[in-house]
Amino acid sequence: MTERVGVYVCHCGTNIAGTVDVSGVATWAKENLPGVVVGRDYKFMCSSLGQELIQEDIRKEGLTRVVVAACSPHLHERTFRTACANAGLNPYLCHMASLREQVSWVTKDKAQADIKARALISGAVRRVQLQESLEPTEVPVNPTTMVVGAGIAGIQCSLELAEAGHQVILVEREPSIGGHMAQFDKTFPTLDCAACILTPKMSDVGLHPNIRLLSYSEVEKVSGYVGNFDVRVRKKARSIKEDACTGCGICIEKCPKKVIDEVFEVGIGYRKAIYRPFPQAVPKFPVIDRESCIYFERGTCKACEKFCPTNAIDFEQADEYLDLTVGNIILATGYDLFDCTQIPQYGYSRLANVFTSLEFERMCNAAGPTEGKIFLRDGVTTPKTVALVHCVGSRDKRHHPYCSAVCCMSALKFGHLVMEKTGAEVYSFYIDMRPLHKNYEEFYDRLQQEGMHFIRGRVAEVTDAARLPGEDGKLIVQAEDTLIGRQRRIPVDMVVLLGALQPRADAKEIALRFGISTSIDGWFTERHPKLDPVATMTDGLFIAGTCQGPKDIPDSVSQGAAAAARVQGMITTGTVLIEPIVAEIDEARCSGCRICNNLCPFNAIDYLEDKAVSQINAALCKGCGTCVAACPAQAITGRHFTYDQITAEIAGLLYDAEVANGDYAPKLVDLLQPAGGGR
């Protein structure tokens, strides 16, 4: 069969036409490339007029294939596929050549640009003729959504979805929801207290009929695909009968075992062995920490059980496994704080009065270990001077190259709190002040007026080695004041390190479990950095909040809402189309060697014992083609990227090559690859 190909070369204004002889190339294609019956150039192919041009030719000229030589397929492939579809041509019979990104914008020499443009077009023409009609498969979307992580971002999207009348399963690792925000005291730039704005939302979550809250639980396993995920959740044993517990808290009161709270109080406060991270915790049920519980250590005590009025204590309780099915998953797993001991010159963990930002938040928090009073490590002395160190682990190639986005504002907030609570002098050591969002710059201005000192210079070291008068018994913060160009030593009583926000320690593991990708640092990767910030490359999986990158509360909330909106869209549509660009096994050719089985990271390939062949689950297959390349029997076809299509494209790209190599090389190719049938 001979195909009738139409080639359309776009000027893109002067973006392409300025460098490439568009009309020349179009005519060249029509005259020289076999199968091409139409060769046109047009100012803007993506305009409705441009699209109509194609559609008209499909109808009038009976085109069976279309090549659009314009911009990157990532921009307009969908546009032209739709155009073709509307004219009755299967969208997968249209192919694009990227003349703008790959030729006109990157090539100086016009003659060379023409040669390359022709190559790309001839490649596309050769390829498109071998492309096949494909039909996406349609699958239903389960209307229940799982949200993983119940910090402010997770809480926000859960509430948005629940309010819209959809079922939500909210999974939280810790005994209570709330995340980092629950640890904070005030929030910048408005200084309203974190608890006051967060706890109402938390109880909404706890009470909402559409939200099933699984706290103290972790996702163990995820399988399935967009619209139909199967998730196994492990509900860790709380040792509390939730149906019996009233949350009266008498057990906590009576528990004789006090331990340092490394999680919620970040090591500067205490909790009991049976505990609730904080008074307004949701759910209200406490949890027994079996590592430190005396009963689990020695087999005696049971004080909690004795005093519990409703017999809610259950020492024998075991982990519970829940198998759930959901249509979409939103990851809002948050961040970890940088380990400040990694910068020894700042003395954290060596010099008592060096604190991390989270320790300081807890100290400022009225419900925290010091009931909101700012003390030195001794727990009694009020500091007279405090230094705030920015960029600890951020903007540093040795740790995290990125800016953590929130530290400047936290520093301003801390400065205000210190001055308000203690009247101490406050010095902020910054590299660049970055108050980016609404009312942030104004907050900076306010702190300047409140008398906070700002020194532009990254702190070189914090030491207790006194050298100059007035330094004895102090911590000396040494830095270059870069605006003066001189070294300065500021003696202070307390140093607060604004540590970087970094990905959760297990971020990469989690990403793998859910089948999404991460950046080198470990932040979850969004589908598009600008235009698709909450979707991931994996359909049905969305991300919100700081698991995607450093963010402050307003941004996390917006992302939570955005992710919810995206999911609602899927739910209302009710069904989802699955890309037909997948791999397919020809049972007749499959030798059952199972090489492909362990090459697939998505477990899309099953081995059918009875037939002794492998089979691909189209819904799970993401179409990477690795198995296709690996199959020694060439039994696997990679739809839309078949062996024949790609080799044809190669041949086209090299239209102007001396065939010299060709005379011998086909032999080679056959040696390595008996050019396999359907591939």
């Binding site: 010159q345 060596r350 080695a465």
Partner: protein, 322 residues
């Protein structure tokens, strides 16, 4: 274990006690040190100041000679400055092929060649801590340094710079601390243990150097150290020989002996002070060593050269004195 040994100029004279004790201690642990044949100066911090190509060639000769000694894979330097120069040249020749090419071009003029990366440049302290191990060291201790408060002084070039992130913690190392505690000493944790001794500033801008030395001595004294322990001849020289200058300059009265970690090991292993070159420090260590029942020998040992010394060139008179 066999190692190439690059003593460096200081150890031939100003730090002779370091060389003496280094060899004695290595012997005790069965480390065979093969001195690099006809080695030359590493250029200290000076050559690179005047001429980069020559500075690299100068060190290159030592590397080439060391590598040519058969079966030699590890080159040990007891002097931190030599240690850095050797490893830096090796590292940069590896990282920058052009640099290696030019350096070898120069070496060729002397019939030599060095393949970057063919030697592992080590500091003697690292060899003892990593290859011998503190446990093995402790096992050999016969005269624990009990009751002796020692201030481990690392200085700069032992831990900095980190070339491609290698080496110890550049700000807060603890390997010498651990070694000295293994010897039974009371190790003090003072904040300036990796700060600078002034390097060659004692020669060209004394006031700058004296201030740096003062800071170190003060910090060690504040923590009531009996003795400062170093792994670098330059550090030892500045803290020991210039201590009186510093005292005069700031009218302080520091009296802190400065010894080498190898001397401390030797003492703990029960070797005689003389065999470790003790008694040749300018600030007497007698009081400190008395604490562990070791007597400092009279410096008369050094008689022969002394004669010549008195007939030597006239020394400048002390200004503002007498």
């Amino acid at each position: 274990m066999r190692y190439g040994y690059y003593p460096g100029c200081s150890l031939t004279h100003s730090a002779a006690p370091y060389d003496l004790s280094a060899r004695a201690v290595s012997n005790a642990f069965g480390l065979q040190l093969d001195e690099v044949n006809d080695w030359n100066c590493c250029g200290a911090t000076e050559y690179i100041t005047i001429n980069k190509a020559a500075a690299y060639a100068l060190v290159g000769r030592n590397l080439a000679l060391a590598a040519s000694q058969d079966g030699q894979t590890d080159l040990v330097a007891p002097c931190s400055a030599c240690y850095l120069n050797l490893r830096k040249v090796d590292h940069n020749m590896t990282a920058y092929p052009k640099l290696a090419e030019r350096t070898n071009e120069a070496l060729a003029a002397g019939g030599l060649h060095y393949d970057p990366g063919s030697l592992r440049i080590r500091h003697l302290l690292d060899v003892i801590v990593d290859d011998v191990g503190n446990q093995a060291v402790a096992a050999k201790v016969t005269r624990p340094l009990r009751g002796l408060r020692v201030a481990p002084y690392y200085g700069c070039l032992l831990v900095r710079p980190q070339l491609n992130g290698d080496g110890r913690n550049p700000e807060y190392p603890t390997h010498m601390d651990d070694l000295l505690s293994a010897l039974g000493a009371e190790v003090i944790d003072y904040p300036l243990k990796t700060h600078c001794c002034g390097g060659h500033m004692t020669q060209i801008s004394a006031d700058t150097a004296y201030e740096l030395i003062r800071r170190l001595l003060k910090s060690a004294q504040d923590y009531e150290a009996d003795v400062i322990v170093t792994a670098c001849p330059m550090c030892q020289l500045n803290l020991d020989a210039y201590q009186s200058q510093v005292n005069r300059h700031f009218s302080t009265d520091f009296h802190l002996p400065v010894l080498y970690f190898t001397q401390m090991i030797g003492l703990a292993l029960g070797m005689t002070p003389a065999s470790l070159g003790l008694g040749r420090e300018i600030v007497s260590a007698a009081a400190a060593l008395a604490k562990i029942g070791a007597a400092v020998p009279e410096p008369e040992a050094a008689a022969p050269r002394r004669k010549r010394a008195e007939t030597g060139l006239p020394m400048p008179r002390r200004r503002g004195e007498g």
